[in-house]
């Protein structure tokens, strides 16, 4: 393990990328299963419950409708019998006689017998043509002799000479809730001589009708649909004689003689399923209502049970899927641990190759990969060693080169100085005693040492450029160009040069090096135009199409130019395209220019034609405001 460690030290291990519960595959899988079960279970349950609910609603509505129809028929028939009974009683000849003869004792006795026989009747009474009660089935009646002429049933019966079923009222005789049925008593000429009225007890009516209902969740009502619907019969005696406050729509439908079933909400916001049916021979209707809550109690219970079962199923699904995924993940986890170990550099790690199908394959491939990596690592290590050796060799060579250039600077110059010095001393010494030839020889020696001195200086400056680091600052080219031209003009008296200098952009680079580039190129231009009558030097710039953040600068002259055939040699060290006799120079200038420009990441090139002129181009990085 140690062997590879340092190789891995360089790369930062991705340990911050720790696994959390929420991004683990296991969690996501279990979560997915959970979501799936809940979703499918939920949708199925919801649909089933909804369908059941709808069918139950329809069933209850249908049932209540049928029931209402049955109750209406039953009530209708019942009332038919009672009314027939009362009518037949009123047509007994004796009744007319009793009224005419005012024999109230016998009449009362007959009335009592009728009430005894017809149990639905609460009381009954006889009334003369003026509405005065003349007899009552109630022995304790205090109403005998009182007028009932204000009663609707009395007025209707006398006016129409037809029997009349009254709206329900409170009996004036005994305060019971009743619905009187009145029939006229006619004489032989068919003229009314009085009225016989039977008060049908609503309590008893309720008893009979409610008896047919044995379902607690269902409420049976008989209503009189006149006056907005007054309850005639209900299992709750409190409701009798009260007006229906809701279900006006039902009363309206009953008034139109329609039957049916609707879902409705009462004033307590209780939902009810209501069936209703009118009666053929009476202004009455039967209403059967079931509270929705009761109707749906079964389905609600079922929903509760289903929910509990669903939760249990979801839990089971989670547990099962959890166990399943853990079983699958175990070898993967092992693989992860293994890859981490390998990542840390432990290439000796042994993978346990277990798991199903793809996972086993993955383990195997990874194990193989580790093996291959080991081989690569070893060769890498060897390479590293080689690089290290080469680097130290190179460093040594560099140091050697540096001390070499120091030696050149110091030691080569000394003998040169001596040669030159002693030649001069000799010249002084021989003053006057020298022939022309000796003079010439001494001149040659003297000039040669001067040239050699220049060569040494140039070589040193060239190697210095190679070694030195660039200090990147904002460089004002206009300032440099102006300074250089001024200094050359005073030095070389080049008054007849026609300068054409553009306003140059600021560039980013090493100020003294850039100055050297311009110095070399401008002095070259001056040098090579020195034989021309009209000397022209142009300095300008243009954008660099190749590198957007660079700018191309050019210096053109109309001087001696050069042969493009030798362009390759132009920028070489100590390469000259002109003879020393024509133009002075060691041939280091352009080599320095090239080196400096390249150190700034730029390129340099030239165009020329013999005796027509030369153009030098170089690129430098534009200065960018930070």
């Amino acid at each position: 393990m140690k062997k590879y460690n340092k190789l891995f030290l360089r790369k930062k291990l991705n340990d911050e990328n720790k696994m959390t519960l929420f991004n683990s595959v296991s969690f996501r899988f279990v979560f997915f299963v959970m979501l799936l079960t809940i979703l499918t279970g939920g949708i199925i349950s919801f649909t089933t419950i909804n369908i059941s609910r709808n069918s139950i609603r329809q069933e209850v509505l249908d049932h209540n409708h049928t029931q209402a129809t049955l109750v209406a028929e039953f009530t209708s028939d019942l009332m038919e019998v009672i009314q027939a009974n009362i009518r037949s009683f009123s047509t007994r000849p004796l009744i007319a006689v009793y009224i005419e003869e005012n024999d109230m004792e016998l009449a009362s006795k007959m009335l009592r017998e009728l009430v005894k026989m017809q149990i639905v009747l609460d009381t009954c009474g006889l009334y003369d043509i003026n509405g005065i009660q003349v007899a009552s089935s109630d022995i304790n009646a205090t109403t005998i002799g009182q007028s009932f002429a204000d009663r609707e049933w009395f007025q209707q019966t006398i006016a129409t000479k037809q029997p009349f079923q009254s709206v329900p009222i409170k009996s004036r005789v005994n305060s019971n809730a009743v619905t009187p049925y009145a029939t006229p008593i006619l004489n032989e000429q068919g003229q009314p001589i009085g009225v016989f009225a039977g008060a049908i007890s609503l309590a008893k009516l309720s008893e009979i009708i409610v008896n047919t209902n044995n379902n607690l969740d269902v409420s049976y009502s008989i209503i009189d649909i006149r006056n907005g619907g007054v309850i005639l019969a209900n299992e709750d005696s409190q409701l009798i004689l009260t007006t229906l406050s809701e279900n006006n729509s039902i009363v309206a439908l009953l008034l139109k003689d329609e039957s049916g079933a609707i879902e409705s909400t009462d004033e307590k916001a209780v939902k009810e399923l209501i069936g209703f049916a009118p009666m053929s021979n009476l202004p009455w209707g039967a209403i059967i209502s079931t509270q929705s809550k009761a109707a749906f109690s079964v389905i609600d219970d079922l929903t509760k049970t289903a929910s509990i079962i669903s939760i249990i199923l979801v839990l089971i699904a989670i547990i099962v899927s959890g166990l399943f995924i853990l079983r699958i993940m175990a070898p993967i986890r092992h693989l992860i641990d293994g890859t981490k170990e390998v990542g840390k550099g432990n290439l000796e790690y042994k993978f346990k190759i277990t798991g199903i199908g793809e996972i086993e394959q993955l383990s195997r491939s990874f194990s193989d990969m580790t093996e291959s990596l080991k081989v690569v690592m070893i060769s890498n290590e060897e390479l590293e060693q080689i690089v290290k050796e080469r680097t130290s060799q190179l460093e040594a060579a560099n140091i050697e080169l540096e001390s070499f250039s120091y030696s050149v600077s110091h030691d080569l110059r000394a003998p040169l100085r001596h040669v030159h010095g002693f030649v001069e001393m000799l010249r002084n010494h021989l003053q006057g005693n020298m022939d022309e030839k000796s003079q010439h020889y001494l001149d040659v020696i003297s000039n040669a040492t001067k040239d050699m001195g220049q060569l040494i200086d140039d070589l040193l400056s060239f190697s210095r450029i190679g070694k030195s680091q660039i200090k990147n600052v904002k460089v004002n080219l206009n300032l440099i160009v102006r300074d250089l031209i001024t200094s050359y003009q005073s030095e070389m008296k080049n008054g007849n040069v026609k300068w054409n200098i553009a306003e140059l952009p600021d560039i980013s680079g090493d100020n003294s090096m850039i100055r050297q580039v311009f110095g070399n190129l401008i002095s070259n231009a001056l040098k090579f135009t020195s034989l021309k009558e009209l000397r022209m030097i142009e300095i300008g710039f243009e954008p660099d199409a190749e590198k957007k953040d660079y700018v191309i600068i050019h210096i053109k002259d109309n001087g001696a130019g050069f042969d493009m055939q030798y362009i390759e040699k132009l920028f070489g060290v100590f390469q000259r395209l002109h003879s020393q006799n024509d133009f002075e120079g060691t041939g280091i200038g352009l080599a320095n220019v090239k080196r400096i420009v390249q150190k700034h990441g730029g390129r340099v090139w030239a165009e020329g034609e013999i005796d027509e002129g030369a153009a030098f181009y170089f690129t430098l990085p534009k200065y960018k405001e930070e």
Partner: protein, 145 residues
């Protein structure tokens, strides 16, 4: 008239020494010039020890010091002199062929009084030495011992 102080030239090259001496002669300096050929001898001379044990204990008026010297280098000699409170006021001029920036910087950091690069051109060399000699031996006022 007090005895004039001497000038010490530390130069390993006989040729250079001869050239320098000839230049100094040409300005007719009254000061005598002593020449030593390496750094160790230079220190012996200054401290009046070894071969120079009998030398009168008078500091030289100026030391002309080459950098590249056998045994003890010019910079080491300079360091020793400028580190000694009794000797640090002696004017020291480095007279060398080296234009190396690091030598110049090192020299000034150690407290050299002037740094002169020997010109290759003889006439320039003569001019430099003449100026150097007249400046340090005549114009410049050094503290008295």
């Amino acid at each position: 008239m007090t005895k004039l102080k001497r000038i010490l030239l530390v130069e390993d090259s006989i040729n250079d020494a001869e050239l320098t001496l000839s230049a100094l002669e040409s300005i007719n300096l009254a000061n005598k010039v002593d020449t030593v050929a390496d750094g160790a001898l230079a220190l012996d001379y200054i401290y009046c020890r070894g071969n120079f044990a009998d030398r009168p204990r008078v500091n030289p008026a100026i030391i002309l010091l080459d950098l590249k010297l056998p045994k003890v280098s010019g910079l080491e000699v300079l360091k020793e002199l400028k580190g000694d409170p009794l000797l640090k006021r002696i004017p020291v001029v480095i007279l060398t062929s080296s234009k190396e920036e690091k030598d110049i910087i090192m020299g000034y950091d150690l407290g050299v009084n002037a740094y002169v690069v020997k010109p290759v051109e003889y006439s320039e060399f003569i001019i430099a030495i003449k100026q150097l000699g007249s400046f340090w031996a005549i114009i410049n006022e050094a503290p008295r011992d």
